[in-house]
Amino acid sequence: MVKECKVKLKSSDDKIFEVDYAVAIQSQILNNTLGHTGCTDSALPLHNVSSQILAKVIDYCEYHVNASSTISEKDVKMWDQEFVKHLDQATLLDLLMAAQYLGIHNLQELTCQTVADRIKDKRPEDIREIFNIQNDLTPEEEEEIRCENEWAFEEEVSP
């Protein structure tokens, strides 16, 4: 039996979002919490999720609560791709962290795969730039790593 109540969520910047019970329980964490406390009027604080990200998470969950029964798998996949396509790096990473924190398995899979797709086929220099990673290796250290697994670096020779 599906509960009809609404659930209030509070983002880290104190914004309140109201969602259906079925939408909220897609998060394992919220599922467990609501299982213990039941539907209350007070908002559940989500200290690690900003309002901007929480809004996107809710978008995702609201689509997916209905998707499994009524929409074809192909259409769901297309929607998912659209959802992540134009996300900037920072938002994408924040979403991945939020999905992991909240325990939303399919969102975590989706964002994880998207980050992997953005790493794929890129040279290390490009990956560093895209994801803002500081290279703290000395040239000697870097050379040592390249020698250890020479075969993995060979393709880079081509311009």
């Binding site: 880290s12 900003s50 309002s51 992997a116 086929d121 560093r128 994801f131 703290d136």
Partner: protein, 389 residues
């Protein structure tokens, strides 16, 4: 107070590893030059996927590289540290590696408590003996092997939950011996295997059983399954099997290419049935033998019942029927029967892949058939024609 925007470096190691498992192995290793922190990350990958597309990013493995692969994988396994969740080994390159070496690698994985193993070699060989030492396995997929003997000292897979045997040369004895050695097995999938004659599946833990025999397979003389917890059974076999006995008291889902009901009459708990190869005539009027039947699907109905006796008791719980038919007019007797005998019918779906002439007459005929259920809704899905009422 909003948390500051996160960079990839703020992620915990486990999350970074999760991302790295989704890129080809050579690229994951290449990430070790990104920074100090990334240097050793690849060694903690929970999944080692040695397959054609994951080992080398380039579309095709240059054949010149094949001899080196052995050393490369050796190197990777030596450097890789932690316990392994999954070890996947399949592809073109497997043909250039000696069986002894592969055995060694799998043994390596066993020492790392690997829980998921997937093996598929290019040429058919006996299952490497080290597979039987992976005692923490929860999922095992073997493709293209021969499994005719079990290793003498094999004590079983105490944690195995899913077993996939695809294109395996088996024999009755091995399969029969293997099952009791997997005490928590929940899903067994035997697909395209040959060498079996009297298939005997006895398991107190099994929930899902799928037996899919290749069309060329005609040696099977008997199939028996005795699984007190089984919920879902799929049997696909093209030729006639003399003896089929099923002791599956709580099985609720059946999907089969067998067109007769007799082998399944003991399955009194059936709720959902799919006859993938149609259903013989006499059998339709015996469907009431399944008192809990709520959903029936008849596909590719070559053997479409035509002269169905109308005197059978009602199908009290039948709510949904889906018929995918080759000839619409031949389907009318069956449709009429179902509509008349199912007082709880909610949805009747009729579909046909090809278009045909006379659609409108058929539709008229169909919608005018007497129905036992006032709520029954008929949905048609015919090529170039979609309608419902």
């Amino acid at each position: 107070m909003a948390p500051s925007r996160m960079g990839l470096n703020d992620f915990p190691d486990s999350l970074l590893c999760l991302i790295l498992t989704r890129v080809p192995l050579d690229q994951a290793i290449r990430c070790s030059v990104l920074s100090k922190r990334w240097k050793l990350l690849w060694r903690f990958l929970p999944i080692l996927d040695f397959s054609d597309d994951m080992l080398y990013s380039s579309a095709r493995l240059p054949s010149a590289r094949l001899p080196e692969i052995q050393n490369i994988i050796d190197g990777i396994l030596k450097l890789h540290s932690v316990s392994l969740e999954a070890f996947d080994f399949h592809g073109v390159f497997t043909s250039s590696i000696s069986s002894a070496k592969i055995d060694e690698w799998i043994h390596h994985a066993a020492l790392k408590d690997v829980t998921k193993l997937r093996l598929q070699f290019r040429r058919v060989v006996a299952v490497p003996t080290s597979v039987f030492t992976c005692c923490k396995l929860r999922s095992l997929t073997l493709m293209n092997f021969s499994l005719e003997n079990m290793h003498g000292s094999f004590s079983g897979f105490p944690c195995l939950v899913s077993l996939f045997l695809v294109n395996i040369k088996l024999n009755d004895k091995t399969l029969e011996l293997m099952l009791p050695l997997c005490p928590v097995l929940r899903g067994l999938f035997v697909l395209d295997c040959h060498g079996l004659q009297r298939v005997k599946i006895c398991s107190t833990s099994l929930l899902l059983l799928k037996l899919d025999f290749p069309p060329s397979c005609n040696e099977i003389k008997a199939i028996t399954a005795k699984c007190p917890r089984l919920c879902s059974l799929t049997i696909q076999i093209m030729h006639h099997v003399e003896k089929m006995e099923f002791e599956l008291p709580i099985c609720s889902d059946l999907s089969t290419t067998v067109s007769r009901l007799e082998p399944f009459t003991a399955l009194k708990s059936l709720m959902k049935v799919a006859f993938l190869n149609g259903i013989y005539e006499g059998n339709v009027s015996n469907l009431h033998q399944f008192p809990y039947l709520t959903q029936i699907c008849i596909d590719n109905a070559r053997y479409l019942a035509r002269n169905i006796s109308g005197a059978a008791p009602l199908l009290k719980n039948l709510e949904q029927a889906h018929l995918n038919v080759a000839s619409l007019n031949d389907a009318i007797p069956l449709l009429a029967y179902l509509l008349q005998h199912a007082p709880a019918m909610k949805t009747l779906i009729v579909s046909r892949q090809q278009g045909f002439d006379g659609a409108l007459e058929f539709v008229n005929m169909l919608f005018n058939l007497p129905r036992a259920s006032k709520e029954a809704k008929i949905l048609l899905s015919l090529k170039n024609f979609k309608g419902s009422e």
